[in-house]
């Protein structure tokens, strides 16, 4: 256990940039721009700005004397700002993990430091799994924590700015919103779902990373894209049915989409077709429930089987790849 913790810490030290600084910088930028908008808005009538923005204005005129109802609606809107806040961080996470995984078992072979890692009494399975665990658990947890912090800070500062303008009912109403307090629970409850859906993609990138002699990124992305293009071209050319559509849908889209948080909603019964948690239309508890419902999907389990096979391959390649020695 102590050994695995050491391996996780080593991963974090090597990848501090992607794991910690990338979400912090993105979160900081969002706070900066959010603050700028709030500051500019505070020059005029904030509540009007917000209600126009959310399509709730009636006459679209500055409401100098705010009815209580508008303020309550506004509080509900603010608590949902958490959803949009998580999107840029989710995208950042997906990009970080893509590059992390592709380099995970290649970079140290290129600079030969693999010889140092291999001189330690650590099994290749433990090495591969520590990298996977960092990507599946540590990285999303940090991104989620940063996203929640940014979202809450934004909502609170908006409410405070409104209060400064006399809309004093917004802040207490915001704090009374159940969703505002449930959000951290809901987001962290979704992390296991994310890990399960993202595993096959990461396993593929890691297997290629362990296998490629050079240019693992090109192999990892080019191979599935190339096969897809070849299949589609053959189908067009010879008027055949080779399953090109199926391949694009279930392999290519799954491979790249799997790293995006919320990807699983494609497989969630009624909400099919769109990526993203659609927080405007769904309450948080329902969102979590729908996410967990996707764990019964055959698509998830077939992906996990493929992912496990790819991981076993990655471990074997890590052990015996001759240029890794």
């Amino acid at each position: 256990m102590k050994r695995f913790a050491t391996l996780l810490r080593r991963e974090f030290q090597e990848h501090k940039g992607g794991l910690l600084w990338a979400p912090l910088v993105v979160g900081g930028l969002m706070l900066g721009f959010g603050g700028l908008v709030l500051g500019l808005g505070a020059l005029g009538d904030l509540l009007w700005l917000f209600t126009v923005g959310s399509g709730m204005c009636i006459n679209c005129q500055p409401l100098s004397v705010e009815p209580e109802a508008f303020q309550l609606d506004e509080a509900a809107n603010l608590s949902l700002m958490l959803g949009p806040t998580l999107m840029p961080l989710g995208l950042t996470l997906a990009l970080v993990l893509l590059f992390y995984a592709v380099g995970s078992l290649y970079d140290d072979r290129r600079d030969r430091s693999v010889l140092f890692w291999k001189s330690m009494p650590v099994s290749d399975a433990a090495t591969v799994l520590s990298k996977l665990a960092t990507m599946l658990l540590v990285a999303p947890a940090i991104a989620a924590a940063v996203g929640l912090a940014v979202g809450m800070l934004m909502a609170l500062s908006a409410a405070l700015a409104l209060a400064a303008q006399g809309a004093t009912a917004v802040l207490p109403a915001l704090l009374a919103q159940p969703d505002f307090h449930l959000a951290p629970l809901a987001v962290f409850a979704l992390l296991p779902v994310y890990a399960l859906w993202a595993l096959p993609s990461l396993a593929w990138f890691m297997a290629v990373s362990a296998w490629a002699r050079r240019a693992p990124f090109l192999w990892a992305t080019g191979l599935p894209l190339g096969v897809g293009i070849l299949l589609s071209w053959q189908e067009e050319m010879f008027d055949l049915q080779l399953g090109g559509g199926w391949f694009w849908e279930n392999v290519v889209a799954r491979l790249f989409g799997g790293l995006l948080p919320g990807f699983w909603f494609r497989f969630a019964g009624n909400g099919g077709g769109s990526v993203g948690p659609e927080p405007e239309t769904t309450g948080l508890p329902e969102l979590v429930a729908r996410s967990y419902a996707t764990l019964g999907e055959p698509a998830l389990w077939s992906g996990l089987v493929v992912g496990a096979a790819l991981l076993a391959l990655a471990i074997r390649l890590r052990r015996w790849r001759e240029d890794a020695a």
């Binding site: 913790a5 810490r9 080593r10 430091s113 693999v114 140092f116 001189s119 330690m120 009494p121 099994s123």
Partner: protein, 286 residues
């Protein structure tokens, strides 16, 4: 303690059609410092990789009584290696490297490592990418010497270092690390620098061991004779394995000739390993 550290019988490795090592028999006893010496491409590194369980091979091989292919993780608890300089990850800090080894290696002593580092100019917060080659080797050596291992494998450990670091490296190794319970296996090109510390010599040529002897045996078997020009023909008749000349005299290298007979020809002396190496490897690149 007399159980051999390494036993190999018919150890071979082929890459496709190319044979990297071709049937090596080897026994290394504990408490020895063994030099594995050979020209480029003679199979030195391949042999070491097989010992360390990094590659598959043919034949029999046991290291500390274990098959390195199947028990590499267990083996690495008692075997250390420094493969070449500059294989430490460039992003790692001194402090992080120590924490890592302390976290994964049960036989690592943090106190020993820090005592060794205190004698260098390395700082805990320093990153490998800021260090010179010599400093990287110092860090690597500090990490390795703090591990209570039975076999230390060094593959060209001083390549690319200046002479001060090279001398220091071997001095540290001898004075602060080596004892009768440990065994060191070194490959190197810089023969002159290791010849005084070696107890055993292995010459590898085209994947085969062409010389396997202790340094004492080498001293008994091989004799160098400095012969005046008029005696040269007589010396040549005794079948020297090498001949070179300088300052109007010829120097002949003999393998297993009785000393009394050679003494009549000129001054006797023990050959340097470098000369022995050159004589043994003649024609390797031809």
């Amino acid at each position: 303690m007399s159980t051999p550290i390494v036993t190999a019988r018919g150890l071979a490795k082929r890459y496709g059609r190319r044979t990297a090592i071709d049937g090596i028999d080897l026994d290394i006893a504990p408490g020895r410092i063994v030099g594995l010496i050979g020209p480029n491409g003679s199979g030195k590194t391949t042999t070491l990789k097989a010992l360390l369980g990094l590659i598959d091979f043919e034949g029999q091989l046991e290291v500390l009584g274990l098959d390195p292919r199947r028990h590499r993780d267990a083996l690495m608890q008692e075997v250390c290696f420094i493969a070449d300089v500059a294989v430490l990850p460039r992003w790692i800090r001194v402090r992080e490297a120590i924490d890592f080894v302390a976290g994964v290696h049960p036989r690592f002593s943090r106190a020993k490592c820090e005592a060794f580092l205190a004698q260098t100019r390395l700082e805990p917060g320093m990153k490998v990418k800021q260090m010179s080659k010599g400093m990287i080797v110092q860090l690597h050596l500090a990490l390795v010497m703090a591990i209570d291992a039975r076999l230390l494998v060094l593959d060209e450990p001083t390549l690319g270092l200046d002479i001060l670091y090279r001398k220091q490296f071997y001095r540290d190794l001898l004075e602060r690390y080596f004892d009768e319970g440990r065994t060191i296996l070194i490959t190197t090109h810089q023969v002159e620098e290791v010849e005084h510390i070696l107890t055993d010599l292995l010459f590898l040529r085209e994947g085969r061991l062409v010389l396997r002897a202790s340094m004492d045996e080498v001293g008994e078997r091989f004799v160098e004779v400095e012969v005046a020009a008029e005696q040269a023909a007589a010396a040549r008749a005794l079948g020297p394995i090498d001949e070179r000349s300088g300052f109007g005299r010829s120097i002949f290298l003999f393998d297993g000739q009785p000393r009394e007979r050679l003494a009549a020809l000129g001054t006797l002396r023990t050959p340097g390993i470098a000369d022995l190496f050159v004589a043994t490897m003649k024609g390797s690149y031809a």
